[in-house]
């Protein structure tokens, strides 16, 4: 939206945008009403009761309990409406639907690296299909970043050592801004890019174009072999490590009797700090990969493990509130 050629609102390019803007207009209207009410009354009182002569003093009015109650209770009620409405929009923003398409993002000084399941990798550019919910799992290789899509009205911080996520459903094909909104050093302002929303057929065409080294899961499978994960994690289950087939989305019993749901955060932790959670019946033999594997390769490995669970892969979303996905690595479950 533009006024006198100056843009005032970013494009409404996601399904959230209208909800968020509606909320914005509501609060704007309420605020404008109260601001004007105060402005008009103080200006009116100032003129109407302007001092006429030097010795004049004001009337002695100590206050009024009914008025105080009125202007405490009414704003409280209005604030509660704002809170409730805002919370419901937020809840929606934080719950990716199960069928959401998965994309991974890694923040690094000073670029955004995106990985598609199909194998495409992009830097500071992201191509997505319109009309499909998309879930982006975010991590950081160095400091804090924040992945921000103004036209989709959503953002989420990238935090070292954990996964966070956001989702949206883009509606209108077009090209929109990507910003980093968490200050990250010298070239913070250069950590920007563009997201291109394509019609689904065009997106399919885009996926086909360009030579790629297999899907993300295939890349993960290569790593699975080259890092010799496959020597212990045998499919049939006789290996020194648990079989990873059909494991994603299930609940495993750990050595100390507690249980854990196998999701992104669990897999991340189990690779980086393998001894944090030992599945019952196995020995803590696996080396830890903390510091030995990049965030991108980690994503590929996790995607490979997920691909071994065709049923569970789409329901890999954790049971806990998604924003809390970010359990710090190797934090043991309460014993």
């Amino acid at each position: 939206m533009k006024i006198f050629g100056i843009p005032i609102f970013p494009e409404q390019a996601s399904t959230f945008a209208k909800d968020v803007d509606a909320l914005y207009f509501f609060i704007f209207t309420v605020s404008a009403f109260f601001a004007l009410a105060v402005a008009v009354s103080v200006i009116y009182f100032g003129l109407r009761y302007h001092r006429n002569h030097d010795g004049e003093i004001g009337a002695r009015i100590e206050g009024s309990l009914p008025l105080e109650l009125l202007w405490s209770v009414i704003p409280t009620l209005i604030a509660m409406v704002m809170f409730g409405w805002g919370a419901s929009v937020f809840y929606h923003l934080r719950r990716p639907p199960d069928e959401a398409m998965q994309i991974y993002a890694v923040g690094k000084q000073w670029m955004w690296k995106f990985q598609h399941l199909e194998g495409q990798r992009e830097i500071n550019e992201l191509h997505i299909p319109a009309g499909r919910p998309i879930k982006i799992t975010i991590s950081s290789e160095d400091v804090l970043h924040s992945l921000y899509f103004p036209s989709f009205r959503t953002k989420m911080d990238a935090i070292p050592g954990r996964y966070t996520e956001l989702w949206f459903e883009a509606q209108a094909p077009g090209t929109y801004h990507i910003f980093c909104t968490e200050y990250c050093g010298t070239n913070h302002a250069g950590m920007i890019g563009s997201v291109t929303v394509l019609d689904p057929p065009q997106y399919q065409a885009w996926l086909q174009g360009g030579g790629i080294e297999g899907t993300l899961a295939q890349r993960g499978a290569k790593l699975f072999t080259s890092l010799q994960c496959d020597t212990c994690h045998l499919d049939a289950g006789q290996g020194r490590g648990p079989s990873l087939r059909d494991i994603v989305g299930t609940t495993v019993t750990l050595q100390d009797g507690s249980t854990a749901v196998v999701d992104d955060a669990y897999l991340r932790e189990s690779i980086l700090n393998s001894q944090a959670k030992i599945v019952n019946g196995f020995k803590p033999l696996m080396p830890t990969f903390q510091g030995l594997i990049s965030e991108e390769n980690l994503i590929a490995l996790i995607e490979h493990v997920k691909s071994m669970s065709p049923k569970g892969a789409t329901t890999a979303a954790p049971a806990a509130p998604p924003a809390a996905t970010g359990a710090a690595p190797d934090r043991p479950e309460k014993k």
Partner: protein, 541 residues
């Protein structure tokens, strides 16, 4: 009363002229004057960085300074303005000068600790200015880990040490005020006869005493992590960078109230004095200050709605954040109602008070946008936030500070300043401020992130407006320096009570005696009783 006014023969300013008589003074008024000079210097240093920022942002490309320099500009602007200007501004200058006379005391409870707090402030400022001279710091005033702990290669530790030290200055001032207000009130000065300025400072002091040590220890943890290689927030060793944010905002959100609460107190005095009317709903205004101070401590995580905290925690903190809005709204309504059937005059301090009402209202109302979860996700860390907190901290706190300074300047110096130029300045500050910061709300909603050295072309018009407004605002801030300095020699003699105000401090001569009161007064009337007050002298010589 006197027909022609004269500066009294003996007062605190001519009680010793040597440097020593100032540097070793125990007089709260002289300490306040030294604070005034110190923070004014810091204000203009911080302001220079703001000029640099607005200059850079006049064009979308990063062409005025390099990205690294720009990052240092906004960091030093924030550090100096927050820790070395806004936090000490009203409490250390106006509070220090006025609380003892307002409650009928000869000095603060601990005059030596008061002087100590000034020296501590100087030492802290010296560390921070030193770090600036040796290359500056580029972490943002928030010092978020891990950037501040590992990635930044600038002078993080000296700056943090400076802030740590200055924090103790703030703690000691708050401690002094709490004890003074509890123990030094004159006979008859009951709690509900205290001026609202004093109530506001009492609430502020509680926040200073309870909040400041937490940021001090947080900076210690950052310091040992950066300086000694400890790992408290280091994700690679299992630490949590977000814990730093929790600890930081546990102080730094209440710190906003350290900055704004005293301004709310000034505002109550101005509105009452210039409408010659007792404040509407005294106890509601008084307790709303305490409510803001208390609620201020339980809303910190609203700075972290997109920092990976759980959905439900975010909801709780959003809910609590709205609770701060209510006492703030109550204050604004009470001030408006005070004007009803008053005797309103538009002297310069009242112009500031009117400006304050408008800007504080906008600042507070835009806080509602940010407390609303669904909106904050979009607005977090954009220029909307920058505009919001400048409306509170500059539009609110600095307007309050300048209003207070113009109000009590005759008391502090015994002389009046130019009425014409001061009104011009008040209007320039108001207009300049709005032109600077209102466009930032728009550009923020448009998605412009804060701390950006360059930005997309379509946002230029709004940024140019902002930079243009900043020019007017800057000139509006320079003007008072000129006419205040001029007034020291040439200003008309003010007399004890040029405004016809009711507070106890206006019963003193201007400038007051070193000991304020020759005899301890006994207070027998209610606050803001203009019926019994000395009414403004007809001829102000």
């Amino acid at each position: 009363m006197l027909d022609t006014l004269k500066i009294p023969g003996r007062h605190y300013l001519n009680d010793g002229h040597s440097l020593r008589s100032w540097l070793f003074t125990k007089d709260h008024k002289r300490i306040a004057i030294m604070y005034l000079m110190s923070i004014s210097i810091m204000f203009f240093i911080g302001g220079m960085f703001a000029v640099g920022i607005r200059f850079e942002l006049a064009t979308p490309q990063g062409d005025f300074v390099t990205a690294d320099t720009y990052n240092k500009f906004f960091t030093m602007h924030g550090v100096i303005m927050v820790f070395f200007f806004l936090i000490p501004s009203i409490p250390a200058v106006l509070g220090n000068f006025l609380i003892p006379p307002m409650i009928g005391a000869k000095d603060l409870a601990f005059p030596r600790i008061n002087l100590l707090s000034l020296y501590i402030f100087w030492i802290g400022a010296a560390f921070t200015l030193y770090s600036m001279v040796v290359g500056g710091v580029d972490t943002g005033w928030t010092f978020y880990t891990p950037y501040s702990a590992t990635a930044s290669n600038t002078s993080v530790v000296p700056t943090a040490v400076g802030i740590f030290i200055a924090g103790f200055s703030s703690i000691l001032t708050g401690l002094n005020f709490i004890v003074t207000i509890h123990r030094m009130r004159a006979p008859g000065m009951t709690w509900f006869r205290l001026p609202l300025f004093v109530w506001a400072h009492y609430a502020t002091s509680l926040v200073q005493v309870l909040g400041t040590p937490v940021i001090a220890i947080t900076l210690v943890m950052l310091g040992v992590e950066r300086g000694l290689g400890f790992g408290i927030f280091d994700a690679a060793r299992g630490g949590d960078p977000v814990l730093f944010q929790h600890l930081f905002w546990f102080y730094s959100h209440p710190a906003v109230y350290i900055m704004i609460l005293p301004a709310l107190g000034v505002q109550s005095e101005l509105i009452s004095t210039f409408s010659r009317k007792t404040i509407f709903g005294y106890s509601f205004v008084a307790f709303s200050s305490l409510a803001i101070a208390v609620f201020g401590f339980i809303v910190w995580a609203h700075h972290m709605f997109v920092a990976g905290i759980s959905t439900y925690a975010a909801m709780v903190f959003s809910f609590l954040s709205f609770s701060v809005a209510i006492p703030s709204a109550v204050k604004v309504f009470n001030w408006s109602a005070t004007l009803y059937k008053g005797s309103v005059s538009f002297d310069t301090p009242m112009l500031y008070a009117y400006g304050f009402m408008g800007l504080f209202a906008i600042g507070g109302l835009t806080g509602l946008f940010l407390a609303t979860l669904g909106l904050d996700v979009h607005m977090h860390d954009t220029y909307f936030v920058v505009a919001h907190f400048h409306y509170i901290m500059v539009g609110g706190a600095i307007m309050g500070y300048l209003g207070g300074l113009h109000f009590w300047w005759p008391k502090m110096t015994g002389r009046m300043y130019s009425e014409f130029f001061s009104r011009v300045s008040a209007i320039m500050v108001f207009v300049g401020f709005n032109v600077t910061f209102f466009p930032q709300f728009v550009v923020g909603y448009l998605g412009m992130p804060r701390r950006y050295h360059s930005y997309p072309d379509e946002m230029q018009v709004l940024n140019v407006m902002s930079s243009a407004g900043a020019t007017v605002l800057g000139l509006g801030y320079v003007l008072p320096v000129l006419y205040f300095l001029y007034s020291l020699r040439r200003g008309a003699v003010a007399g004890p009570n040029p405004w016809g105000a009711s507070g106890l401090e206006w019963h003193l001569q201007s400038p007051p005696l070193t000991e304020n009161f020759v005899e301890v007064p006994e207070v027998i009337n209610e606050p803001y009783e203009y019926e019994h007050s000395v009414v403004k002298e007809k001829e102000r010589v």
